[in-house]
Symmetry: C2
Subunit: 197 residues, 2 copies
Amino acid sequence: MARTTDGNGTPVPQRLLATATRLFAEQGYDRTSVQEIVEAAGVTKGALYHYFGSKEDLLQEVYARVLRLQQERLDAFAGADAPVDQRLRDAAADVVVTTIENLDDASIFFRSMHHLSPEKNKQVRAERRRYHERFRALIEEGQAEGVFSTATPADLVVDYHFGSVHHLSTWYRPDGPLSPQQVAEHLADLLLRALRA
Amino acid sequence: MARTTDGNGTPVPQRLLATATRLFAEQGYDRTSVQEIVEAAGVTKGALYHYFGSKEDLLQEVYARVLRLQQERLDAFAGADAPVDQRLRDAAADVVVTTIENLDDASIFFRSMHHLSPEKNKQVRAERRRYHERFRALIEEGQAEGVFSTATPADLVVDYHFGSVHHLSTWYRPDGPLSPQQVAEHLADLLLRALRA
DNA sequence: CCGCACATACCGACTGGTTAGTCTGTCCCT
DNA sequence: AGGGACAGACTAACCAGTCGGTATGTGCGG
């Protein structure tokens, strides 16, 4: 633990990850050089390769973190003690809010996933599927109860909603007229209205 | 018009554009080298730089083509002689079908737009906004007529729908269970159901 | 109807610049 | 004195774009 915080409060690995996240989101993964990352983080290549095996590992860490967070939150909302339509609405709104609050991670996630090597990509996809499936189960539960329409396959509904979540990083601006909560309310509303039986 | 079709039916410029589109979609813009493109197209760098000013021009051409196509189709559907909900449904479904039929263009469009230089990016965004506004006008028309709910701002509804269109390139597989038309019907349905007053 | 001038359509070696990752060394803490 | 935490020069591989060259066709004066 020698120079780990070296002139700055946050430890080097976290600082590198945060810097890389910002730069990846701003310029894209390929356009961001390792040199740029270490300079912006105030260290050198030696430090980066001391903590991370490769540039790609950095990218994977971004994914791992965001996936962990979202899965935890979804599980909490989906497993709550409330009617299924309320639970779905809460979960749908929450993923919008947390996505907006981490827009950098989101744009990296959706724009740079294909930069990962096949094996790491597979790993991320598997995690992603778990999330997708939990969400789908919620919709199917409501359909079975007769609360939601069965006109559209649950799978497609999930993709419909996540399409809009995905899209947030393209159009949402923090200085725009809508707060994250307002956007979340609207999008959850649209989903529930589309689903009502 | 010397060797323009050189052993192949299609002229060199189109062949280069088609090859580049495929490779950009498969590997991303940055991961695709000019050398790779010309080899796959069966020509050399000399030919590519004879017809295109830069690698970026190739990318911009992909955008220009897809934007032109979609704008034309939207204008046709939006300006048809039918009730507003029917026109919106048709337009919404059509953009899904044409997006699926040109999935390569779509994934490039949504994943590589930030690779364009600021000025070209601005140009593409302006075109994109025209499209967005035409679609929004359709929704506002329905809202004014009382056919669509005014609970959600029209802008947000447009982004909601295009989020799902955008997302298609992530999950849609031609060998999956749903035909492009079926997906289009479902997605248009969801939109109309979310909007009904 | 010939042959010369010019243009278009390419070829492919080369250049200048960039990049991820390596490796040897140094400093400091324990 | 030994090891974790870095520093920074170095390397090997690429890559976009250039440039001088060649081949084929086209218009035109004689």
